[in-house]
Amino acid sequence: MTGRGSDGLVVDAEVRRGEFILAVGLAAASSQVVGVLGPNGSGKSTLLSAVAGLTPVAAGRITLAGEILDDANTGTFVEASERPVGFVFQNYRLFPYLTVAENVAFSPRARGRGRQAARVAADYWLDRLGLAGLAGRKPDQLSGGQAQRVALARALAGQPALLLLDEPLSALDAGTRLDVQAELKRHLADFTGPCLLVTHDPLEALVLTDRLVVLEGGRIIQEGSPAQVARQPATDYVAKLVGLNLYHGRADGSHVTLTAGGSFVIPDQGQHGEVLAAVRPSAIVVSTKRPDSSSARNTWPAKVTGLTLLADRVRLDLDGQPPALVDVTPAAVAELSLSPGSQVWLSVKATELEVYAPSGGRQDQR
């Protein structure tokens, strides 16, 4: 599953950019889309830049299909122009003075094919990505979604063995993003080499990738399948991204004492010591009177500190022991007449708590 074999991309390196140090070990097998998720400044783009050969590594090495692209120990370095890499940049970086067809033909041409052959190759990719009608346009005459496809076509026309995508959908407006995302997923499925996709959008990461690597401050803090990362986030950052309440605490059989205050009753699975407990905002029930307590239910008082309207629900920010984010319907807000400062009771079933060891979310972590 991790694809550490000779057919994929293996990065085991340290990259320095000024004060910033990125130190990662990750692998991507053929046909696998590995998502790199992280906040701004976490080193995502630096990682892609190193793999593409735009930034040399300071230590360690990068190999593709067993061949060395960069090795700080031996000094081996394959120039960016010699790497079989297709790079889709964040803002696409389509050459503004060239037509769509000329942009797509750029790579075959630069890699030594004749004008005619390059044009044929470009036509093939334009056709394949449904861009044939746009061949004569200039980049500034394209919509965001079209520009994204042209950027992908341009990267693929060089027949790369490895595909790098830097926030491929971030430049799109919300309306077209879902369409383009579905389309991108199809094209990524057709690509036979490994693919690294950098994003800070959790939905993009969950939908488009086969495996997720979460970067924070230049380190990998979690690695696993998208479902696993979404269910058992390892840090507050990931929990926030996937919209979960995450609590640190110490387990003692059927009881967890939370670092943030308060405690939870959990189904006894013999867990002891440091644990993380994740709970969905929609699994927590809000009431104005103290609910009937039962052993399978956690109940605690809290104060509303904020309300945010999300698409079809309202997210409550609650201060208590522990604090929590809770999703309720707009109707419930009216019925319970909730406003900042309201005192409420929160309750959550023990079975709604996902309790796991802090390292539980990590797989293949070095």
């Binding site: 050969g53 735009l54 122009s81 940049f89 790579s107 630069a110 200039k138």
Partner: protein, 285 residues
């Protein structure tokens, strides 16, 4: 209490204009208006004088006693050749200054752009010291190849290039510095080697500045006087360019000088306007 002047009156026209432009009053404050008008007068009066004093009725007669055609042709081709030379050697130098770092680079930049602030006559003297028959380099050119540069059309081209090329270099270097290098990175990931990146990405990206720099360089070369007359002299048909012809005509026949000036003015304006339409209008597309 806030002090304020009485409300002003806005005509419907002014209201519409402000609404269309958005924003507050665009009327020019008096302390700026007066100096601006003086500047306009200062720049345009001499040109007006030239046009008013021109011997319009007998232009042909005024020009007949001069070598106008010869001088004009010499000026045009030497300015064009020196612009070409500046492009061929100046653009690579601009790239080196903008994109690489090496010890002494700041000093080198200061030195190669020195002709911008150097009096052209001093440039001419310097060229003589380097390339005359007894000069630093000229001595060997004469000894080994029998090549004498001063007082030839080649000297005119060298003098013009010496003075005009820095204009091209600083224009192009600035453009290279401000150009988005992301495109060059993209080209590298698409398999373009460094020279291909320069040819197919860098040059097209800076094309507007390249055009502007070339025009600036050509105009400066066309008007070059001091370095040329010092290094190349003023042999009619050989090294007497238009500005030099104007200067000498003024001593003997002011009408001829005015006529020559008008011809030079007309040619510069025509060439600059046509080049601007071609090169400098909006983004390259």
């Amino acid at each position: 209490m806030v002090t304020r002047t009485a409300p002003s009156r806005l005509t419907a026209q002014e209201r519409a204009r402000r609404a269309a432009r958005g924003g507050a009053s665009r009327s020019v404050p008096a302390p700026l208006l007066a100096p601006a008008l003086i500047a306009v007068a200062f720049l345009l009066l001499p040109l007006a004088g030239l046009l008013i004093r021109a011997p319009w009725g007998h232009m042909a007669a005024a020009l007949s006693g001069t070598d106008a055609t010869q001088a004009l042709i010499l000026s045009l081709w030497t300015a064009s050749v020196s612009t070409g030379v500046s492009l061929v050697i100046g653009v690579p130098l601009a790239w080196v200054l903008a994109r690489t770092t090496f010890p002494g680079q700041r000093l080198l930049r200061a030195l190669v752009t020195l002709p911008l602030v150097l009096p052209p006559v001093v440039g001419g003297v310097a060229l003589l010291l380097a390339f005359s028959r007894v000069g630093l380099v000229g001595r060997y050119l004469d000894e080994w190849f029998g090549l004498t540069i001063p007082f030839t059309p080649l000297a005119v081209i060298m003098a013009e290039t010496f003075v005009a090329m820095p204009f091209l270099i600083i224009t192009v270097e600035g453009a290279l510095r401000s150009a988005d290098q992301g495109y060059e990175e993209a080209a590298a990931t698409l398999g373009a080697k460094r020279m291909t990146v320069f040819r197919r990405v860098t040059v097209p990206l800076i094309a507007p500045s390249l055009g502007a720099g070339a025009v600036l360089c050509w105009a400066r070369a066309l008007g070059e006087f001091g370095a040329t007359i010092t290094f190349a002299g003023s042999f009619p048909g050989q090294t007497e360019t238009m500005p030099i012809a104007v200067y000498y005509a003024l001593e003997t026949d002011p009408n001829a000088a005015i006529a020559l000036s008008l011809v030079l003015l007309l040619v510069s304006v025509v060439v600059l306007v046509s080049l601007r339409d071609h090169w400098l209008r909006g983004p390259v597309s």
